[in-house]
Symmetry: D2
Subunit: 339 residues, 4 copies
């Protein structure tokens, strides 16, 4: 297979994760997350976040749907970015499976602001309209950018003042934590996030995400709801075992740090090439504008996405698995092909 910079999900998994799965394959254990591995995961999340309820799920979309479903009645809606993953990349699951409506607002570099949210609050008592109940933000964003902790706090404060709950889609939250160099609790619970979708697969797990309920009341019936939302498997020990390994020796953070640093290295090297317009990466995605012919040639040798054909923008995404050699090779090929 050719080298891929398409997404962090084209990578495999860390060797330690495979070993953890193999190690969990011993004897009989209770199904449905009543096993020792799952208990251990709960303890770990508790150490990180304090008193929380954690609901392990199978996919990022699954995590978002489970999170939102606990927060919503059918006549309530979710304010989110127009380009939010839940709005554009989840095949309508957030509407169809939760049975409610998304309320998109414009985004700027992937981020949303309070001014734009207000349009939905003017009419909050208008019974012809879905009642906004949740604000969902993505950290790091779909555009590879970051909210500052202050920005998150400001959104949470605004939300709570308006009787709204805050969901954070953190499918790449590890990259955000690594980039901001802060504590994950300081970026989420401490500033008012109510429910977090904590990502695993994009940061090196095979399969596994976790919905972390800071607002535990919302989680009351999560077990029945997760089952109904098709996010429960019997052999949950193999999910939990991955998470336990993830947090041992800071694998999750090291994976994210590595991915981020590879993106920075790539951006730095690409910046040296004439004719490319390189956007400084906040986390692990490098957006570059380049000549159409160059894109075409390059796409025969590497796997990556054209994110905006009009401005000839492509995205190179690094992962825990990306090596300096792979980047050097990519940069060298771009140089050659550009000539």
């Amino acid at each position: 297979m050719i080298v891929s910079f398409a997404s962090d999900n084209t990578a495999g998994t860390s060797k330690e994760i495979i070993e953890a799965i193999a190690a969990a394959n011993e004897g009989y254990v209770k199904p449905y997350a009543f096993d020792e591995y799952s208990n251990q995961s709960d303890v770990i999340f508790g150490k990180i976040f304090g008193d929380v309820t954690v609901c392990y799920t199978l996919s990022g979309t699954g995590a978002n749907v489970v999170a939102l479903k606990t927060m919503l009645r059918p006549w309530q809606g979710v304010i989110c970015a127009d380009i939010a993953h839940i709005n554009t990349e989840e095949a309508g699951a957030p509407e169809v499976i939760t049975g409610s409506k998304l309320l998109p607002v414009p985004s700027y570099n992937g981020k949303i602001n309070i001014a734009n949210m207000k349009q939905y609050l003017v009419d909050k008592n208008d019974f012809h309209k879905v009642s906004p109940r949740v604000v969902s933000i993505t950290q790091s964003t779909e555009k590879g950018t970051l909210y500052t902790i202050d920005e998150i706090k400001e959104i949470c404060d605004f939300a709570h003042e308006n009787d709204l709950l805050v969901h954070m889609d953190g499918s790449r939250i590890a990259n955000a934590v690594a980039a901001l160099g802060c504590d994950i609790k300081a970026m989420t619970r401490d500033v008012g996030v109510d429910v977090l979708s904590f990502g695993g697969a994009k940061n090196g797990l095979i399969i596994g995400e976790a919905v972390v309920f800071f607002n535990k009341k919302l989680a009351r019936d999560y077990m029945t709801m997760r089952k109904q939302s098709l996010q429960l498997i019997s052999k949950m020990r193999f999910i939990s075992a991955q998470f336990n390994e993830f947090f041992k020796n800071d694998l999750w953070l090291n994976n994210a740090r590595h991915a981020n640093s590879m993106a920075q290295y790539l951006a730095q090297e690409l910046g040296k090439i004439k004719g490319l317009s390189v956007q400084e990466p906040d986390v692990n995605a490098v957006f570059v504008c380049m000549d159409k012919k160059l894109i075409d040639k390059l796409s025969q040798e590497f796997y990556f996405y054209v994110t905006n054909p009009e401005i000839k923008e492509v995205r190179f995404m690094s992962s825990f698995q990306t090596t300096k050699e792979e980047i050097d090779y990519l940069v060298q090929r771009i140089k050659s092909l550009a000539e």
Copy 2:
């Protein structure tokens, strides 16, 4: 952990499956089942069943929901056994996620019959009622029994004569194939089944089921629908790699044969103990009636389910992992405790 006869899902996975997962962890591959492992799985299913569309899913409930969702409009319903897994053990997902209604009929030893289905067809044009559109049967059944191939054919013929489709919940279909000693295609496609939920996890996979569409028209939009139904993960290679191993050297059949034979051995040994009433197992579940006090004592040493407290019936279920020694130990403890 104590020895478990609670369900075949308290077991782990075959060693070969772990190795297959480890082997699949190499390089970059396209996400969302566009990888070589998934292509290979498709080829294998094609060899077994002929020209089919296969949709890999994450859980058995997920497989059933995806299968049914392709077959139904919201005003159509599913005739199924009152005790069907879809009716009692899937937390309402078949109704809520497909957005339709189940139409239960009485079951006898886990099986349903045509006479009882007819009540829903009398009113087929009554617009006050959900229109029956699918008959769903489980093979092997929730009671550990089997439909004969002729019985399946009879149900399929009846269904098709009445413009109904047939779904088979085959979460334990390997056990059925092993028990009946027939070809799996002969038990499904050849007698008229339209869509099959092919089980993996209960027969030794870590995670993974497959919806097999014999009626390929139904599968037209399955990719979007699977994503919406929260059954798609990015790193599908790790699901497909399990299936590929499953079919290599007949692992799937050998696992099922072993589980079945262990159940037969257990039934035979229990049959020798006075005071127990043992039901002859068709597949890998042994139902036994025994003294209440014995049940209580035994449940402190083993993990199993009381399936009917009124008649003091318990279920011992074997799996690919169950050993003769474990059964001997169980039998010996029952003997001791019974005295």
Copy 3:
């Protein structure tokens, strides 16, 4: 048109109702039930039931769905009679539109009992199953029978002890009130009913039902929810005006009393005819078993339903509009045809 005993919904409406509609057709009024007619209806319901929230709807199915939707999250279910209107005559709306599941129990003469409800409470914490949250009973029942007030209280007490809410489908509650000669509040709120679907159309309105929330917290968002559930029209004054007339001079009770008395008269007269087996009517439905040939002949002259072909049972239903002459004519024709 031939005389109809098919259902109370084959009748038209009282002359007073037409006049009330005509009188309401004056000037401009605020749409969506913010008009004076609707305010007046609210006051009337308040006088009858005390402090309540009333949500006017368009159909009986609509009333039931709105009522249930306020009480349920998607993973919760509704215990009801197997023959309940919500289970068999509403085309799946209670499942599909509320997004939850019905949990049927056997019925005896249309009524359900606590013993049968308990099966769903054994497993109340089993996350593989929908959690029961509501008990729904019909008064008067689909079989034309009645719960006593004590029976209703017993069910409500049981429900509340088990953290369940009680819904009453009262599409024919006026007939029940007339038959039992009690106060409607004594039969509903006073014994613990949480939400009542109060019927209009089967008792002489053109169109219009009312969901009465005794548990007002449940009604918090009813306006948005009613709109979403397609039960809101702009010109609600024409619904409210009907209700106002309905309660003036006890039209609603007089209509029901008349329908009931006509059924009693019919049963009495039919009882005199040899060869008929007549069930004593509690309200306005007379169930009669008669010769198959007689049924066939009669159905060419009158409009009525065969409710059970096996036992040759037919149903004659009276309405506010049924006259003694129509009944005499029916009885006379049966006599003639029976000879």
Copy 4:
């Protein structure tokens, strides 16, 4: 009650409609639209549109939902204007009750164009996204503007070339027909519309809309689906009788013509007042920008909506019931208050 220019739904109904309802109140008729009044309505719609299936519904939102539900599977979506009634004024019913997703595009004077629709077709085979299946346009639009017949044809052609169906929300289609002076069939079926929501209540009916299926295959199961969608009442004769009257002597067209001409008269008179910015009305809505203080004073005497506070825009809407005297009075008051 003060004079209302808030909406055409603050009016009552034509005297003839009341008389038609009274006349339909005779004898017994079959419920659920199997009566003679409903047969007659079907014949009338057939004369207007040719061979169609007509599904009468209770509200405009109900009509839209029923129309869309027949056209969609859950993983398919509806391209519509950002300001479409289905997107902003139906409390999420189009998503929640059909179980699918709306795909909004920008609108210009209420209208959408093909260029903007194309964004959803680029990704038509992207299984991460809802598949567009329907284009929904509103005629006349929410902004009181009109598509020309050519524009409708162009959209229909584009839709069909891309395997999309076309829905027209015609809650005010009579106003469009009156304004364009064309045949209603020429504006809908003849140019390719597949399903039309034909409006009644905003043009003078008490209650009643009709979904007209030009593509009859879509309507196959409409009766069960209407019941499930809570749009069926038993006494449908009282809906059909209104429609029959509506079409007798062109009442529907005369109502619309009158409303349109009143709007034109109002615009003409307001145009004479200095300081007002008046938008020329296409149908029965006049948008006017005026001084904030004037708005405040005026709203104490008349009932109307402020449609855009930022530009101080208000909407005056006329109806079949609006009189020249009412308009003269409004104009005179504006003049007085403006001074």
